[in-house]
Symmetry: C2
Subunit: 146 residues, 2 copies
DNA sequence: TTGGATGTAACTCTTAACATTACATCAAAT
DNA sequence: ATTTGATGTAATGTTAAGAGTTACATCCAA
């Protein structure tokens, strides 16, 4: 398990949808071209975002739209929309139960606290980053290239 | 890339070495039995810890020993000893350079800041956790089972 | 010199991320 | 109503990285 590419693709899509508002109909094919991913990957990502209530998708006719204010959407919401298991499993623990060694018996418990702290730190940081802030950064980059 | 099992195995080994001090000679076979890993995995992990200056290993005769105070060894040191590339690469970014779309051209830059923040948060948390604190937790668990 | 240990290279196995194909479903436009 | 272009998703294929294993050179103390 890891923090996969899907998260980056999702941010890409959300910014794209935001920028295209009122300009173009955002289809999965269009997003596939912009991201370089397969349209099915896009549809899966968008599907997760839809279930999380971040976008609406017009079935049949096509087209995705944001259904929340970008300043209300955090990176953690985006990540959670794509990874049902959340951050647990990000850090691997070796299986060594059922052994006589007292260390083997307790290492799981010992590691739980540090790993929980790490996950909490990641979560907090992700919650502090909004889609709006990333859109702002994007606009700055576009306006003054180099 | 991920925070792999190796890190957990390394902590397991370090606690084992600490507890075995003056009691038994800690060989890779012994650690392999306790962790449930292959002896080669253990030797690779120990090799990393050795290069990082955390343990010494007696060649030929065998046996590993801590060569730093557990309160001076942080989880980040342990992790870094095993993952030469550090935390970069923990989060995947899709490749979409060389496309006309301005979002594709800038998404990498836009994502860099958030991802750097996440990595820094992980690093800080890992630096705040010492081997000593994990040894203390282990002792507490052993003394009062259940 | 023998025995048990480490240090690594090379290879295989396994799993999960990622990509692709295929097709059912849907809704607007003609 | 049929066509057209879109979404939703199952099923499968591909690939890369983690994990495991074998093999063997090297080392040191008894």
């Amino acid at each position: 398990m890891q923090i996969s590419m899907k998260c980056s693709v999702a941010v890409h899509c959300l910014i794209f949808i935001h920028e295209a508002k009122g300009v173009a109909k955002v289809t999965s094919n269009l997003l596939a071209q912009s991201t370089g991913c397969n349209p099915v990957i896009i549809r899966n990502v968008i599907s997760g975002l839809k279930k999380a209530g971040l976008v609406t998708v017009a079935r049949g006719t096509g087209g995705a739209q944001l259904c929340a204010d970008p300043s209300e959407i955090t990176l953690y919401q985006i990540y959670s929309a794509l990874e049902p298991d959340g951050l647990s499993g990000l850090i691997g623990i070796h299986a060594c139960q059922g052994r006589k060694c007292p260390i083997a018996q307790n290492i799981g418990q010992v590691l739980q606290k540090p790993y929980q702290q790490i996950e909490d730190a990641i979560k907090q940081t992700m919650e502090s980053i909004t889609l709006q802030s990333m859109i702002d950064d994007f606009h700055q980059l576009v306006q003054k290239p180099e």
